[in-house]
């Protein structure tokens, strides 16, 4: 009897640690498995009106519209418009552009194939948002090779002008 208990305990312990490991080590700390933009756009009928989880980088501007706002979230394939309550985006600090990486967020919300509220747009009406990681400013080191090349070409243009002026002078 004792042996049976101890073996059960071992099995349960292993299962518990496996579950704990999976929870801690998987990269997604959000709601559940997120769906890609390609999957949503290619299967609009299947997901229309359903609550989906979508993850990506906020790009461009946060466009405030009264109590709500539009944000556009790009998952490296496509960007999808998210209609979201203004109060839910207080934590958004960075949006993607040439000079910054935008915050990575996970959105849970209702997917609309052609939204009645927004003139037939394909969009997601967010119910909740989780910031997966914060964006940052991107700093670019000045490319010295390009500077040298630009200087070299400037010298060539100047040299060409001098040669041409001399030629025109001698030609009369």
């Amino acid at each position: 009897m004792m042996k049976v208990h101890s073996s059960r305990f071992i099995v349960h312990s292993i299962l518990f640690f496996l579950a704990l490991y999976t929870m801690l080590c998987t990269p997604c700390h959000g709601f559940s498995q997120s769906i890609s933009s390609a999957e949503l756009i290619n299967n609009v009928k299947q997901y229309d009106g359903k609550v989906v989880v979508y993850e990506g980088e906020i790009i461009g501007d946060v466009m405030l519209r009264g109590e709500y706002a539009w944000i556009n979230v790009n998952d490296n394939k496509n960007a999808i418009g998210i209609w979201i309550k203004k109060e839910l985006i207080k934590d958004i600090l960075y949006t993607g552009s040439y000079k910054s990486r935008g915050d990575i967020v996970e959105i849970a919300g209702k997917f609309n194939r052609s939204c009645v509220e927004h003139g037939g747009d394909l969009d997601i009406h967010a119910q909740s948002i989780i910031k997966i990681s914060s964006g940052s400013k991107i700093s670019y080191a000045v490319n010295t090779k390009t500077i040298n090349l630009a200087l070299g070409l400037s010298c060539m243009i100047l040299l060409f002008y001098l040669l041409r002026a001399r030629y025109l002078k001698t030609a009369g």
Partner: protein
């Protein structure tokens, strides 16, 4: 017997090509300054070296091939067609240096798409592209829409017979003013005045819908340039869908329609001759064609019930239809939705609208409304001839700036260009099918490229076969120049190798 071109022919072509190259080099200074203003040093340097390369090539060409003689027809046509190829390669350098293109061919595709006001794009990660590179993408249509050669004409050339040949070679056979240089300058005047008005209008709308002021006016300038020049590029990857605004879409529709009108018609309107709008064969044909093709699209969309109410159907269907008909290519839906959602009938409506295109002597592509109108008039004339006694003289008139009698030679020329367009649409579609794409998708993308539209059903992608990229580049180039100068270049090359 084919005559081999002589050295003087090549010198003449080289000299004028050099002038156009210098013009392209100077245009690159605009994004260079933009880069400095926005603190984008590396992009600014990309444009500095590209401008220097263009200026150096142009200066060498104009010096080595120095001439003060006028161009003949063949030389004028060859200068135009080769100018577009040279401009494509030189303008692709800064885009390639941005690192947002997978290959140099992709950046060439992008610049040809821009110059020809097509709008098909192969850019990667557009949402992180610098202001200066993005501005260059949109400046391309603004330069190409008005005409690359027209810039050189307006800036560097004296008026003369040679200038007129180059002006015609760039698919502009209508002179607005008696002097071709004055016409070129007037086209630029119109474009710059509209650019200021359009940028202000879109910028204000942009701020109202929540864009930051800096972005609102930058986007406004970009969207105006690509909208008025019927190109369809946008600063963000979602195109016009990014803005989620009906007001923005309405202003964009007005800009697209203004861009598709004949510059000659703009001139008449500027002079206060508003009656011309109602009498002109092109505007009448455009109105009829828009109504007919929208009817097809609406039936197609209604049958499938994608959009639950009429307002939604109108907003999405009409925007895409106008975008296709004016050959702009702006989108408020995803490319995949065309194939998966819109169905064959609505797609056919859009293909027809794209194929027909906008007005002649505008920035629009396609067969053009003037030609469609003339074909119908010629058909009407032929039916009348059949119905009336043989001795009866049947005269057919049409109004285009002035009332003109339709001649058989004119109808024949129009049919020849129309047939060329249809052939190029079909050839491109066949190559698409050969690459493994479905027939309707291939026809859609081929028509979009050759009619310089830019709507995509998803084929245009960095991963598409190289042969298809080259096919679309040739289609965009030939479609924009309306074939004649492209045929002249091929003839010149053949004569160079096989002539005696």
């Amino acid at each position: 017997m084919i005559l081999k071109p002589q050295l003087k022919d090549i010198k003449h072509i080289g000299h004028y090509l050099g002038k156009v190259t210098i013009g392209v080099g100077f245009m690159m200074l605009v994004p260079f300054i933009t880069g400095l203003v926005f603190g984008e040093i590396n992009p600014a340097l990309d444009f500095l070296i590209s401008a220097e390369i263009a200026l150096l090539c142009g200066l060498i060409l104009t010096w080595v091939c120095a001439t003060d003689k006028e161009l003949n027809w063949m030389q004028g046509m060859v200068v135009v067609s080769s100018s577009w190829l040279v401009a494509m390669v030189l303008s692709a350098i800064p885009l390639y240096l941005s690192g947002h293109y997978k290959s140099f061919l992709d950046s060439c595709f992008e610049t040809m798409s821009g110059f020809t006001t097509t709008g098909l794009t192969l850019v990667q990660d557009l949402d992180h592209l610098s202001y200066s590179h993005n501005l260059w993408r949109h400046l391309g249509p603004f330069i190409g829409g008005q005409g690359i050669v027209i810039i050189a004409l307006a800036l560097f050339m004296k008026g003369g017979a040679g200038s007129f040949k180059m002006y015609v070679g760039e698919a502009r056979d209508e002179k607005i003013l008696p002097n071709v240089i004055h016409t070129a300058r007037f086209i630029w005047l119109i474009s710059i005045v509209y650019l200021i008005i359009g940028t202000l209008a879109l910028g204000i709308v942009g701020m109202l819908i929540g864009l930051k002021p800096q972005n609102a006016f930058f986007h406004a300038a970009c969207v105006f340039m690509a909208g008025f020049d019927t190109a369809g590029f946008a600063p963000q990857s979602q195109n016009i869908l990014y803005y989620h605004s009906l007001l923005f879409e309405i202003v964009t529709i007005i800009i697209m329609v203004a861009g598709t009108f004949n510059f000659n018609l703009h001139y008449q309107l500027w002079r206060g001759n508003c009656k011309e709008l109602g009498r002109n064969i092109e505007t009448r044909t455009l109105l009829m064609s828009v109504m007919l093709t929208f009817f097809i699209v609406a039936i197609g969309l209604n049958k499938l019930g994608i959009y639950p109410n009429a307002m939604m159907l109108f907003r999405k269907g009409f925007f895409q239809l106008i975008s296709g008909h004016t050959t702009t290519g702006y989108m408020t839906i995803y490319a995949q939705q065309f194939i998966q959602e819109w169905g064959d009938l609505a797609l056919t409506g859009i293909i027809c609208a794209m194929a027909l295109g906008g007005c002649a002597c505008s920035t629009a592509g396609g067969i053009k409304m003037l030609r469609v109108g003339i074909i119908f008039k010629a058909l009407k004339q032929d039916i009348k001839r059949l119905a009336l006694p043989e001795r009866a003289i049947v005269a057919q008139k049409f109004h285009h700036m002035k009332t003109v009698f339709l001649e058989d030679a004119q109808a024949r020329a129009v049919l020849l260009i129309t047939m060329s367009y249809i052939t190029i649409y079909v050839l491109g579609a066949l190559i698409g099918v050969g690459c493994g794409y479905p027939v309707l998708n291939s026809l859609f993308e081929s028509t979009s490229a050759a009619a310089n539209v830019g709507l995509s059903c998803g084929i245009t992608d960095a991963s598409m076969p190289t042969i298809l990229k080259i096919t679309y580049i040739i289609q965009m180039w030939a479609g924009r120049l309306e074939f004649m100068s492209v045929f002249a270049l091929f003839g010149f090359i053949v004569a160079f190798f096989r002539g005696k």
